[in-house]
Symmetry: none
Subunit: 225 residues, 2 copies
C-alpha cells in the first residue's frame, strides 16, 4: 500500500511518515501543493493525506484539481482545530474523510485503514482466492489448512495480487505500489519475488496461481473453489 502525505510542516510530515512506514506502508511526502499535484497525478497511490493550508497550491484546490482529473484516490484532509468550515469545504472538494489537527496517530491509522477497506469494498479483512486465504489485519496467509510464512515484501506482493485478481498487472505497476517512488525500475526484484511467492504458494507447481503474460506482466488467478 502506497500513500502520499502532502504537508508543509516538515516536522509533522516526517513524524507521520515514520509512523506509516512502521505500519508497512510505502510513503511519499510532498511539501507543497504543486509538488503534491505532480506526485498525485503521476503515481498510483492507494490513499492521500492532504493538509488544507499549503504553499503554492492550497489543499482544497489540490483535491478539486485531482477530482476534476478523474483521480479517485481516497483523500483524508487535515484541518485546523475548530475550523468547522474547513472540514465541510474539504469534503465538498472531494475528500473522503477529515481529521482535525492535532491528532493521535492511532486515529489517523484507523481512518486510513477504514478508507482503504472502503475503497477496496472489502469490510472483511479476509481475502480468498481458491485455496489461498489472506488476513490483511494480522497479515497471515494460509494455503489450504496450512499457514504459509511470508516475508514482508512477499506479503506485499501477494496482497496486491489478491486485491486485483485476474487483472493484468505490469511489473511497473507492482513496483510502484510496493516501493517508494525512487526505486530503480530496471531491477529484477519483482521477478525474484514472484519466483519466491510461486515456490511458497505452489510448492508442487500444480496450481499455477501467478500467470506470466510475456511483455505485459502477471495475472493472479485461482480457481474459485
Amino acid at each position: 500500500m502506497r500513500l502520499l502525505v502532502v504537508e508543509d510542516e516538515s516536522l509533522l510530515a516526517e513524524q507521520i511518515r515514520e509512523h506509516l512506514v512502521q505500519q508497512q506502508f510505502s510513503v511519499d511526502v510532498a511539501h507543497d501543493g504543486a509538488d503534491g499535484w505532480f506526485k498525485l497525478s503521476e503515481y498510483p497511490y492507494d490513499l492521500a493525506i492532504i493538509d488544507i493550508g499549503l504553499p503554492k497550491m492550497d489543499g482544497l484546490s489540490l483535491i478539486r484539481k485531482a477530482r476534476q482529473n478523474d483521480i479517485k484516490t481516497p483523500v483524508i484532509v487535515l484541518t485546523a482545530r475548530g475550523s468547522w468550515q474547513e472540514k465541510v469545504q474539504g469534503l465538498d472538494a472531494g475528500a473522503d474523510d477529515y481529521l482535525t489537527k492535532p491528532f493521535h496517530t492511532e486515529e489517523l491509522l484507523a481512518r486510513i485503514n477504514a478508507l482503504i477497506r472502503r475503497a477496496a469494498g472489502q469490510p472483511d479483512p479476509m481475502l480468498h482466492a481458491g485455496p489461498v486465504r489472506l488476513n490483511s489485519r494480522t497479515q497471515q496467509v494460509w494455503l489450504g489448512d496450512d499457514e504459509v510464512s511470508l516475508t514482508a515484501y512477499e506479503y506485499k506482493v501477494l496482497e496486491y495480487f489478491m486485491h486485483n485478481p485476474n487483472k493484468v498487472i505490469s511489473k511497473t505497476e507492482l513496483t510502484e505500489h510496493i516501493y517508494d517512488q525512487d526505486f530503480d525500475l530496471d531491477s529484477n526484484v519483482i521477478e525474484v519475488f514472484v519466483l519466491r511467492l510461486r515456490k511458497k504458494l505452489d510448492p508442487d507447481g500444480e496450481l499455477k496461481p501467478i500467470e506470466t503474460l510475456r511483455g505485459r506482466g502477471y495475472r493472479f488467478t485461482m480457481a474459485v473453489s
Copy 2:
C-alpha cells in the same frame, strides 16, 4: 437483497414495501428516525430508502449518524417536491441518490438497481463479436467457451479490430496504432500477425472473422449471434 425503508407515512411505507417485496427484495420498515437508526446499525442492509421528514430523528441526522459510524449502506433519500435544498442537504449528509415525492415506483426501482449495481463495483469491460469475447481488464480472450491465449501484439491487434468492428482498417492505420511512430512501414509484420490471429481465432477456417480488402486493408466482421 435486503432493504430498509424509513418512512413515517404508514400508507406510503406499506405501498413501497409491497412493490419491493414483489421484486424479490427482503424489506424492513422503520416508522421513525430512532427506529431507523437502530435497524440500520444492527442489520447489514444492501440499501436504505430514507424520508427526509421524520419524527424522533430527521432523515438528514440519521444519514449523518450512519456515515459517522462507518455504515456505508447505499442510501436513497426521499425529498418533498420542489425542495431543492433538501436534495443537496441529503447528498451532503452522505446519501447516494435522491428521489422527489411523489414518484413512480418504476423510478424508485431503477434507482435502487443502479445503486446496487454501483455498490457491487464496475462490471468488467467486455467486448463481444460473435463467438469472440474479450475482457480488456484481464486481457483474456475467449472463442466460444475456450480461452484463447494470445501474445502481447496479437492481443493489441485484436483489441483494435474489436474496437472498430466492420470498419475498413488499412495496414498503415493498424501499424500506427500498434507501434511507435518510427516503425518501418515496408515490413510485413501486420500481415504475419493477421495470419496468426486468424489461425487462433478461426482454427477451422469457417468463421472468416478478418476479411481482406485488397489494396485497402482489413475488416473485422463477426456474425452477431
